[in-house]
């Protein structure tokens, strides 16, 4: 098989081979992704140098019986900030289901490894945290849902839950713990926070999530790509469009489908509307969390107006049921599209007035400034992305670094702040609303006419020449969801999904909160949490 490579990929390959003594096996390469396999000694030689070269571990996932291999195959996805290519090192565990941890060099690996261990039963030698992650105490021992031997269905729950989940113990004079959740006081999702505090200031925080683990990845197994879109949309409701686009992009890459330009443009318009909605929720919610309803209300009004625009465009307030592999299920009515520019013009005026009211309040600034700082040094090791990384001096944005769809021709204005506090995040979010508005206006201008669905996608119209039905292959897609980088890896076998791995920005970003709250007072926790806008559903899957 001849593998075509662009310059960036060639350069990356050269760099990696210069580290190792041995020549790796090149398994596959595509625009912006390359799969290499080293021997075990080669892998152990290479990965620490990647950490030194400022690569982030953006994903670590597993597949069973991958390409007729026996046992389990691990995929380590690395990316350098600002660079397009993703380097994927493939590692096999063989039958012993035992391998070594890389969490010392890449802290983001810790949760990934725990996730793989729960799902597949692979042990990571040397891991500093071996507690279960998404399987809570109600799940029996030796239960690993993502193994192919397990057929999805009801299971016998553990009768007397084994051991209590052990939280980090912090002891000392005057130290006490505050357990919060999983059920919280507002209309929000469930999760558990264990604070260790001395008086008011937080000394340590440990989070425990995955209460909402619904088994999305297992449900995807054996489904056709078009059936899987609803699962991608259900990963995180307010990022339905982003995750559907990520999943479909991966499938389109595998099958070599060229999405029509009109569909690409319409997808981007909807992705930006979704982003605006998410950001408005934050700008309003953060004001609510400092008890400032007057400032919050206009943002909530605007958000509802955007929901209604969404409904006019797609019949769904959450832009659901429109994205399919190959493009869009249906075209968007011109009447709804024509409404967008005047709507956004009025929206901009309302937005600026609401934002000015917020940012000119000294009491709001007093609460926001210097609160919940995330240092830039944490960004790469924890693979933090999205507005929170951009507020900590790190400009990474997949739409710019590794553009997909219409973003190849329409780059957004990047926003950057250095302080990393709640205020910096507030400012970045406001900038991003403006940037999204500007982008939508550019995207709607001279919108090309034509089809919104690639005929070659086939499966939809019982077209036997279509190339999704029967396709085998794998590919990785990255999209910039409202919360940051969202990773989608799809492995198709004979046209059906054999493995769908999704890792949302929140999965990594959640770990920032344990650092951001240190030294802050407990009453500032809700504000810090809101400013990070982390999705529980998108993490728990």
């Amino acid at each position: 098989m001849e593998i075509k490579m662009n310059e960036d990929i060639k350069e990356l390959l050269l760099m990696v081979t210069s580290i190792a003594q041995e020549k790796p096996e090149l398994l596959n390469a595509r625009e912006n992704e390359i799969y290499l396999k080293f021997s075990e000694t080669g892998f152990i030689e290479v990965y620490p140098s990647l950490a030194e070269r400022k690569f982030s571990l953006i994903g670590l996932f597993c597949a069973e019986s991958f390409e007729k291999r026996e046992g389990f195959t691990l995929f380590y996805a690395f990316k350098q900030e600002g660079m397009a290519p993703v380097l994927i090192l493939v590692r096999e565990t063989g039958k012993e289901k035992m391998t070594t941890s890389i969490a010392e060099a890449f802290p983001s690996a810790s949760w990934f490894e725990r996730e793989v261990r729960d799902g597949f039963g692979i042990e990571f030698d040397g891991a500093f945290d071996t507690r279960r992650l998404f399987l809570h105490e109600c799940y029996p021992e030796d239960f690993h849902p993502l193994q192919k031997a397990f057929k999805n269905g009801p299971i016998r729950q553990a009768e007397s839950p084994r051991m209590e989940y052990k939280f980090r113990q912090v002891k000392g004079e005057g130290m006490y713990q505050i357990p919060v959740g999983p059920v919280h006081a507002g209309i929000i999702e469930p999760g558990h926070f264990r604070f260790s505090v001395i008086g008011e200031p937080i000394f340590s925080l440990e989070i425990r999530l995955f209460y909402k683990h619904r088994g999305i990845e297992k449900l995807a197994e054996g489904k056709s790509p078009s059936e899987c879109v609803v699962l991608a949309e259900a990963v995180s409701g307010d990022e339905s469009m982003a995750n559907a686009t990520g999943f479909c992009t991966a499938v389109e890459q595998i099958c070599g489908i060229n999405v029509p330009e009109r569909a690409e443009r319409l997808r981007a318009i909807m992705l930006e509307l979704e982003r605006i909605n998410s950001l408005l929720g934050d700008l309003g919610g953060m004001a609510v969390d400092v008890g400032f309803a007057l400032v919050a209300s206009p943002f909530h009004v605007m958000r509802e107006e955007v929901f209604r625009q969404n409904e006019k465009l797609t019949d769904s307030r959450f832009l659901r049921g429109i994205t399919v592999p190959g493009g869009l299920k249906k075209d968007i009515p011109d009447s709804a599209l024509k409404e967008l520019p005047p709507f956004l013009e009025k929206f901009t005026r309302d937005f600026e007035s609401a934002y000015n009211r917020a940012i000119s309040s000294s009491s709001l600034i007093d609460r926001f400034a210097t609160t919940g700082v995330i240092r830039k040094e944490l960004v790469s090791p924890l693979n933090l992305t999205g507005p929170l990384a951009r507020a900590s001096g790190c400009p990474a944005d997949i739409r710019i670094d590794r553009p997909y769809g219409a973003y190849k021709d329409f780059a957004p204005q990047n926003s950057l702040r250095k302080n990393g506090d709640v205020l910096a995040r507030y400012e970045v979010k406001a900038d991003e609303v403006r940037a999204s508005i500007a982008l939508i206006l550019r995207l709607t201008e001279n919108l090309p006419k034509g089809p919104v669905f690639a005929e070659s996608a086939g499966y939809a119209g019982n077209n036997s020449s279509g190339n999704i039905s029967g396709a085998t292959g794998y590919s990785l897609a990255l999209v910039e969801a409202p919360r940051g980088q969202s990773l989608h890896w799809v492995y198709l076998k004979n046209g059906l999904v054999d493995r769908y791995k999704v890792r949302t920005a929140s999965f990594c970003n959640w770990q920032a909160i344990e650092h951001a709250v240190l030294g802050n007072i407990v009453p500032d926790f809700p504000l810090i949490n809101k400013s990070l806008n982390l999705s529980y559903a998108g993490t728990d899957l």
Partner: protein
Amino acid sequence: MVNPLSFFLRPKVTETFEFRDEELEALGAEIRKEIPKIFGHSLAIRELDSGSDNSTEIEISNLGNPHYDVERFGISFVASPRHADVLMVTGAVTLNMAEAVKKTYEAMPHPKYVIAVGDDACDGGIYKGSYAVLGGVDKILPVDVKIPGNPPSPKEILQGIFALVKKASK
């Protein structure tokens, strides 16, 4: 020095929004009329997420925004199940949340009602057959009203609340 007159002369901070929805107003008035028959002066709802995809939470939160502002109809969302007449559950019940769901329900005073919101909460929805969920909310709690939708709109949720109030007063 701030001139005290400026407080009167500067623009008002309360403005009128142009989004009166007669259908919503009529529904709200009906609810406002029905609630006192059985619940005293207001209906206290505790929202509980048992495994949703978060879109349903967003629509329930939207009931409080200025377009709907359901508190004026006598509906309030409360922080504790101890204060609640109604438990509004979203999402298929996950194994990891089942115990917390039961405990939340048990913490409510009698009489108590349960509303399941969204397709997943109604019957498990797209999660049917998953190892990780028990199914709809009625697998572990007595459900009085089901509001289907992916997710249901704020108005549909309000209609569901109305259905519950009617049911309770019978």
